[in-house]
């Protein structure tokens, strides 16, 4: 050991020995910073490239998808068009069949109606002719009856007029007699009524006159009851007492 104590060192060893001095703390920090920036640049460049590729891919996928959908839709629309044409054809056939059936039924009913109308017309004509004949017969009979009744009515009217005239004359005579009787009764009644009214008037006036004094006295008592005080009447009262003084004195002596 002591032999190699002062042995010259090799360059690599020297470098190793000096390495800790070279790569001190600051150096390591600088290298770390440098590496970090480099890494960020690389990442950013890759990200831009990746983004471009992705946009291109998305655009391509969208174009292809659109073309595929349009193609599929065109195909389906064409299929639907065919189906619609078939359905329209079938419906037209069905409508045509119905129309023919209705036309046949219409023709059949028209023929039937024409036949029945002709039958009814002839029956109606026959019935009309019969009715007219019957009406003529009845009209002739009615005219004969009318003539007969008119003649009878003329006879009756003549007789009734004569009877009426007689009754009218009789009634007029009776009315005249009654009016005369009424006139006489009225005059008698008027005379009696006037006499009665006169008697009652005299009675009422007599009663009124006899009660008038009481009415006035009652009124004065009600109206003047306590209107005069004794002081105002005193001279009159003393005068009355003076007038009756002798009677009073005589009574007091009894």
């Amino acid at each position: 050991m002591g032999i190699f104590q002062h042995k010259a060192q090799a360059p690599l060893d020297e470098a190793d020995a000096q390495l800790p001095q070279l790569f001190d703390h600051l150096m390591r920090e600088e290298l770390r910073q440098h590496g970090k920036e480099y890494f960020e640049r690389t990442i950013a460049a890759n990200a831009d490239q990746f983004k471009k590729d992705l946009d291109t891919l998305v655009a391509q996928i969208g174009t292809e998808l659109r073309e595929q959908i349009v193609t599929k839709l065109d195909k389906q629309i064409a299929e639907y068009g065919e189906a619609m044409k078939d359905a329209q054809y079938l419906a037209l056939q069905s409508l045509n069949r119905s129309q023919h059936a209705l036309q046949d039924r219409y023709d059949q009913l028209s023929k039937q109606l024409d036949g029945e109308f002709i039958e009814y017309s002839s029956a109606l004509k026959n019935a009309q002719a019969k009715a007219l004949g019957s009406l003529d017969t009845q009209a002739t009979a009615m005219q004969a009856k009318h003539d007969e009744l008119s003649a009878q009515l003329d006879i009756h009217f003549t007789q009734y007029g004569e009877d009426l005239k007689k009754a009218q004359e009789t009634a007029l005579d009776s009315l005249g007699k009654n009016a005369q009787t009424m006139q006489e009764q009225y005059a008698d009644f008027k005379a009696r009524l006037e006499q009665k009214i006169g008697t009652q008037e005299a009675t009422i006036i007599s009663g009124f006159e006899s009660n008038m004094a009481s009415i006035i006295e009652h009124y004065l008592i009600g109206a003047l009851g306590d209107q005069y005080d004794v002081k105002a009447q005193l001279p009159a009262i003393i005068a009355e007492l003076e007038a009756n003084k002798k009677d009073i004195m005589d009574d007091m002596r009894l």
Partner: protein, 172 residues
């Protein structure tokens, strides 16, 4: 004794302020009270106490004593006076007067003065109220009635109205 009391009672002069028997009764009561007071005062004076002055009296009693010249200092005389006044209260003639409205004191005093000067010196009035009389007086003496009211005059005038109405009917 009773006759002498009656005779003396008949000689009393009643003042105009004593109109009714109630006034006279009130005066007798007052005189009894005065008699009691004066008797008590005399006893107190005899026993050496203070002799009090004359007791207070109403205007009616004062007038009555003055008009009749009475002396109340004598105890026996006061007793006689009380008896005489009681007698007067029972014997005095009363005239009932009914009016149509309430009679005031002054009018009653005038009427009582006239009655005492004209009819009887000790006449008393008994007052009544009857509005239906309208006016005047309805007089009742011990034995008679005199209707001097306006109602009686109207009743008496009924025939006059009837005659007037008959005359009016006749002229129509």
């Amino acid at each position: 004794m009773t006759d002498s009391v009656t005779a003396q009672a008949g000689a009393f002069i009643l003042p105009p302020s004593i109109v009714t028997r109630v006034d006279l009764s009130r005066m007798v009561s007052e005189l009894e009270r005065v008699d009691n007071d004066m008797t008590s005062a005399g006893v107190r004076a005899k026993t050496g106490g203070e002799s009090s002055a004359m007791p207070t009296m109403s205007e009616q009693l004062t007038d009555f004593i003055a008009q009749n010249k009475l002396d109340l200092t004598d105890g026996r005389g006061r007793g006689d006076l009380i008896r005489q006044l009681r007698q007067l209260k029972d014997d005095a003639p009363v005239i009932h007067m009914t009016f149509a409205s309430v009679a005031d004191g002054d009018s009653l005093r005038q009427l009582s003065a006239w009655l005492r000067s004209s009819i009887h010196p000790q006449a008393l009035i008994s007052v009544g109220l009857q509005p239906a009389l309208i006016g005047g007086v309805y007089l009742r003496t011990p034995n008679h009635i005199k209707d001097l009211s306006m109602r009686a005059r109207l009743t008496g005038g009924r025939e006059l109205i009837t005659k007037e109405l008959e005359a009016l009917r006749g002229s129509r």
